[in-house]
Amino acid sequence: MFYRESGEYKTDYKRDMTLYALPISRFSVGLMVLLFFVAAPLLLGEYQLTLLSLVAIAVVGALGLNILVGYAGQLSIGHAAFMSVGAYTAANLVTKLDMPFLLTLPAGGLMAAAIGLVVGIPSLRIKGIYLAIATLAAQFIIEWIINHSPSISGGVQASIEIDRPTILGWKLDQAVELYMFLVTIAAIAIVCTQNLIRSRIGRAFIAIRDQDIAAEIIGISVFKYKLYAFGISSFYAGVTGVLYTYYLGIASYEQFTLVVSIDYLAMIIIGGLGSILGSVLGAFFITLLPIGIRLFMENVGSLFLEPEALASIISQMRLIVFGSLIIIFLIMEPEGLNRLWINIRNYFRVWPFSY
């Protein structure tokens, strides 16, 4: 993540298996923990914590999509549909069976994973852009089913209201509490993904992505691992849906439309396909950039425009700036923010000299 690759000598199996092998990497992880678990809740106000909470939810979703698209190489544009599966599963379990949060979270994920396995079946036969269209169909089919089944969607405008999450009798309704809860889940998701990627499964994903015939020849069951990829990715998506549901207090299919799927794809493409840090950076970028642009425009624009003219210009300009920034970033570094970070790091490693 943040450490130098050199000097990593492994002399026993235990060292070989550690997740953070070097002192500097342990140090940077500790720093991140301090920053997000101690400093942020103590120093930031409700507004900033809300932003970070939204980012934390997006991180989980982006990681899931990156496992499927970035690591296993299976293009999917139905990610938001799996979120809605998780969201409605959790909402129904809460309202009908009064299940606690600690059960609904995995249940939402598992339900989404089960649906994801079904949607993943065509991936054995079709690849690339064709698979994308198959997942697009899943997006519409799931949306339609939720929309037309009162037993799933609750009947009234296909939305189910639920209460804030309670963990062991402690109700999380303050911004700080919700933030801590979301950022913990996001941290767990990051560590799980790191471990997944260096395991047999993760390596199989990468082998399939790079050359599926070669992978099959060396004995990887392509179909099995493609399904795994869909299942795991959908599990993350389902968890994201559950988090959204608890965070907003409502499950509504309109929160999980095709546009949301595209947003998540944008996150991982800008962040960096096949990179965990990239997923995190992408989630930050896509969530916060529009807000940053708006702040900038409000402050700069108000110098030479009247407020009412500004209101309509800001929203149009924001789209233009947002779009062009994405294009500029991708032209500068097609491999995303993760690559950009590596380049910066490499540059400063030998600074002020250069190769």
Partner: protein, 412 residues
């Protein structure tokens, strides 16, 4: 850095003003969609909102206090709306106006916790009209239940005072909002003795030839109630025209009849006779709109294009007028501009006989009924624009209320 310096400067400036004139800025958080999927509505509605607030400010604001509207465009996406809401909270907004059904859903619980009132005119479910369940959300406009009831009443009047043995077709956009009119029909059909059938139009609603042939040729409807959104209303008008169905036997719900829809369907002459329901008056002949035009003239500016799209522009004016009326009541009750969200909420209950010359219905918001009575008015398309076909009215209130209560008991 820049933000902090500007904020600091603003704070100093604000305190300087406060110390000299004892006036305080009243902040409203206003969400809008000018660039997302409903931008057709937003680009006309939002300027209407700002124009009315500017008009009030140009006349000295609310009892000497200036009203500041902070607008955030959320592109009809939920996370930006949550961010926007928190932003408004940091700006000490006394009222927040969410835009869009999913955003209303996502914020309604938070707003009640924070005790900040808001309105959701034309969004959300009929249930939101229940003030006991949602104490800080005010739909202020007729819900789909009320619209459906009003449509049946309209059909009854148009068909000679009785619906016995008549056939009503309900054509709707196939989503939960689209289906929300059906329970009322189900309830009223045995009572009034009519039969009805529903015809779903799948999203995106640009293909409905078979449904309309079904309505006109096979079902042979005596009257059509149309609950369509987006591009669908203009397509439906074309199809009804092609099938030779009289458009004066069609009534559309509130999202099925903007000027844009009429123009897209082939212009006013083609759409002549088509009836649409509105929760804010349509057309340009209202004194308040004249005042806005005068305001622009006095500033030496052209009136904005959005003013031509009166169906949505006037809804912006309508929302602003209700918001400012509630805030004004709060300021009056408190005696100063130092008001909280709860004061503004109570201000909504004090709105009486406030119609701005017919642009607003005679709202009566009570603690139980945040819908304000469920008033609608039907306008008919003629060669020279919309003409009112009825006065402000409402219908079958007992049935609507009964259904609401059953629904609330069912979901809680």
């Amino acid at each position: 850095m820049k933000i902090w310096t500007t904020l600091g400067a603003a704070a100093i400036a604000a305190s300087a003003i406060a110390s000299t004139a004892s006036a305080k800025d009243l902040v409203i958080g206003f969400m809008c969609d000018r660039t997302g999927p409903t931008s057709v509505t937003g680009t006309a509605l939002c300027p209407g909102y700002h124009d009315y607030v500017n008009l009030v400010n140009s006349k000295g604001g609310i009892m000497g206090n200036k009203v500041i509207v902070n607008e955030i465009d959320h592109e009809y996406k939920v996370p930006p709306a949550v961010e926007a809401y928190q932003k408004f909270k940091t700006q000490n907004a006394v009222l927040v106006s969410p835009y869009g059904t999913p955003m209303v859903f996502a914020l309604v619980q938070k707003m009640a916790e924070d005790k900040i009132p808001g309105t959701s005119a034309g969004f959300g479910t009929a249930l939101a009209g229940n003030g006991e369940r949602y104490p800080y959300m005010f739909p202020i406009a007729a819900s789909y239940y009320s619209q459906s009831a009003a449509a049946v009443q309209f059909a009854k009047d148009q068909l000679g005072g009785s619906l016995k043995g008549k056939k009503i077709a309900y054509i709707f956009y196939d989503n939960p909002a689209g289906r929300e009119g059906i329970p009322i029909l189900e309830k009223l059909a045995p009572k009034e003795g009519f039969t009805y059938r529903t015809f779903a139009v799948p999203p995106p609603g640009v293909e409905m030839g078979p449904q309309i042939l079904d309505i006109t040729r096979r079902f042979r409807a005596d009257f059509v109630i149309s609950h369509l959104f987006g591009r669908a209303p203009s397509v439906s008008l074309k199809e009804f025209k092609r099938a030779g169905y009289p458009l004066n036997k069609v009534v559309g719900f509130v999202w099925a009849g903007s000027e844009g829809d009429i123009i897209a369907s082939g212009g006013w002459e083609a759409a002549e006779g088509y009836n649409t329901m509105h929760f804010a008056g349509v057309g340009s002949d209202y004194p308040v709109l004249q005042e806005i035009r005068d305001m622009y003239k006095a500033q030496g500016k052209e009136e904005p294009d959005a003013m031509q799209y009166t169906a949505y522009y006037n809804r912006g004016v309508f929302q602003a007028a209700v918001h400012l009326a509630a805030i004004e009541n709060a300021v009056k009750a408190k005696g100063s501009a130092d008001i909280t969200g709860t004061d503004v909420r109570d201000g909504f209950y004090e709105i009486k006989d406030y119609t701005l010359g017919g642009l607003l219905p005679p709202l009566q918001i009570t603690r139980k009924d945040h819908e304000g009575g469920g008033w609608v008015r039907i306008f008919q398309a003629t060669k020279d624009g919309y003409k009112p076909n009825t006065d402000w009215y409402r219908a079958y209130r007992a049935e609507v209320r009964e259904l609401l209560e059953a629904e609330i008991a069912h979901t809680k």
